[in-house]
């Protein structure tokens, strides 16, 4: 099988600027305090994902999971090392980022679809399926700001899963909506797996990740500490560090 996603020796450092204005900088310099600190979010992480594989990224808060996903999607660029992907990547990274509160549901389907990389023809083709999936038919021409939070997330998720990516990045998404909708989302994710799409899933819901993924990667403090079966990763996560 071919590689779908290659992360080679990737590091990411963030600069935490404490101060920005000239006045504050002057005060800090006079007091000999550091103006900025750096924080190593990812430290030499390598990870190769094969086509059709489903990988669960595990780790405590702040271990670098989300940073790694953002590097995979191209939102962030690595400071060292290389990230490469094959085909189109789409992320459910904080769903709803592309939804505009002042546009209607219908307009948002087009806008969000385009933002996630769909062409006009693709959006038109999947429009009905998206509406169907999101169950917001009745409110299609209402401004999204009047939606309940559940409706909002359903619409966002519906658009995202219909973008037909080759690599699908999922960040803590499956916690949305009520139980029936969650089940529907999970089914959808399973179907994507069966279709041979590559999945990278971040979640604290260990039961769910275990059901969806077979390979588990555990990050701790920005380093990869376990790369094996889901079971191994979960056990290592639960074991006292």
């Amino acid at each position: 099988m071919a590689t779908a996603l290659a992360v080679d020796g990737v590091s990411k450092r963030f600069v935490l600027r404490r101060v920005r204005s000239m006045k504050e900088i002057a005060v800090y310099v006079l007091q000999r305090k550091p103006i900025a600190e750096t924080f190593l979010a990812l430290d030499d992480v390598s990870l190769h994902v094969q086509e059709g594989e489903a990988v669960g990224l595990l780790g405590l808060n702040g271990s670098g999971k989300s940073t790694l996903l953002k590097l995979m999607s191209g939102v962030l660029r690595p400071d060292g090392g290389k990230v490469r992907v094959k085909g189109r990547v789409a992320g459910l990274i904080e769903v709803g980022a592309g939804l505009h509160p002042d546009l209607t549901g219908r307009e948002n389907i087009f806008l969000n679809g385009a933002i996630l990389g769909m062409s006009e023809a693709q959006v038109r083709r999947s429009f009905d399926a998206i509406v169907d999936f999101s169950e917001i038919e009745q409110f299609l021409d209402t401004d999204v700001k009047h939606y309940s939070s559940g409706m909002f997330l359903r619409l966002a998720f519906a658009v995202a899963v219909h973008t037909d990516p080759d690599v699908f990045l999922v960040d803590e998404i499956l916690a949305v909506g009520d139980e029936p909708f969650q089940r529907k989302c999970l089914e959808r994710v399973h179907r994507m797996r069966e279709e041979g799409r590559t999945l990278v899933v971040v979640s604290h819901d260990l039961e769910m990740v275990q059901r969806v993924c077979d390979r588990g990667v555990l990050l701790r403090g920005g380093r990869k500490v376990v790369d094996g079966t889901m079971r191994e990763a979960v056990d290592a996560l639960r074991a006292p560090a």
């Binding site: 071919a2 995979m72 191209g74 992907v85 546009l103 307009e107 806008l111 933002i115």
Partner: protein, 286 residues
């Protein structure tokens, strides 16, 4: 940049070329900007004409009537409005482009898409707002005795091209730098305050020539692409009806127009380079 194994680096765009490829998305973003700008307002799009109209009226009475520019310049109202349309296009596009990335921070932070789309979209929005103003200008020009000619149409198109290219380039630079230092949006406002006086919009350019003489200062004044664009618009809409004021057009206007277009293109290329360099850090700085 596809390699043998088909793997490519995400987040590495082709800049403005990507914007051309993603016309569908660009169109939707422009549409969204237009919709959102006038949400919940009764007069809607009409507001974008009230502001320039009031500004125009103020200038017209202050300069045309009270300072009597009306008398020395034939059809002063048309002269004024021709330049004014250019400057208000520039101002709107530049001011909004400079803020465009910061304003779209939630999107830039979470989803990768060619970020050039945002400043480019604001330029489109400004151009759409400009269209009805040009219609009003045309009506005024017709009343003043304007007749269509190839020269007029060409100078209007050239003038528009100069401003559009220039403001796209400046917009890219300032949108990118503003992510790191929000001071730049204030700097833009300051520049816009001055810009209307740096071009012969409110006064004839001969005032500047007489004041500065034929030195390098005058050349500097004439080298401003906006000065040339303003004059091209005046050449297009005002001059055909006011031939008596031929000395109020700068010499070699077309040559200067082409040079200004080339200069603006250089600004655009530099803008793209600066933008591409800074773009890598947008998501983490916002």
């Amino acid at each position: 940049m596809t390699t043998v194994d088909g793997l490519v680096e995400p987040g590495r765009g082709a800049g403005l070329l990507d914007v051309v490829r993603q016309r569908f998305l660009l169109r939707l973003i422009v549409k969204q900007e237009l919709r959102v700008r006038y949400r919940g307002s009764v007069l809607g799009l009409f507001w974008s004409y009230v502001k320039p109209a009031v500004q125009f009226a103020v200038y017209f009475f202050a300069l045309g009537v009270f300072l009597r520019l009306n008398r020395s310049l034939e059809d002063f109202a048309v002269y004024l409005f021709a330049g004014f349309v250019v400057i208000s296009f520039f101002s709107e596009a530049f001011g909004n482009a400079a803020r465009s990335i910061v304003r779209n921070a939630p999107l830039v932070r979470k989803i990768y898409l060619p970020r050039e789309l945002f400043p480019v979209a604001t330029t489109w929005v400004a151009a759409i707002h400009m269209a009805p103003q040009v219609v009003v200008l045309l009506v005024g020009a017709l009343v003043a005795g304007w007749t269509p000619s190839v020269g007029a149409v060409l100078s209007a198109l050239l003038g528009f091209a100069v401003v559009a290219v220039l403001v796209s380039g400046l917009g890219l630079v300032f949108a990118a730098v503003n992510v790191f230092f929000r001071d730049f949006e204030n700097l833009v406002d300051l520049m816009l305050l001055v810009v209307v006086w740096l071009s012969p919009v409110l006064y004839p350019w001969s005032f500047v020539r007489d004041a500065l003489g034929d030195g390098w200062l005058l050349e500097l004044y004439l080298a401003n692409p906006l000065t040339v664009a303003v004059q091209l618009f005046q050449r297009a809409f005002w001059f055909p009806g006011a031939q008596a004021n031929a000395q109020e057009l700068i010499p070699d206007l077309f040559t200067r127009g082409v040079i200004a277009l080339v200069g603006s293109a250089v600004v655009l290329v530099v803008g793209q380079l600066v933008f591409a360099r800074l773009e890598k850090r947008f998501a983490q700085e916002l």
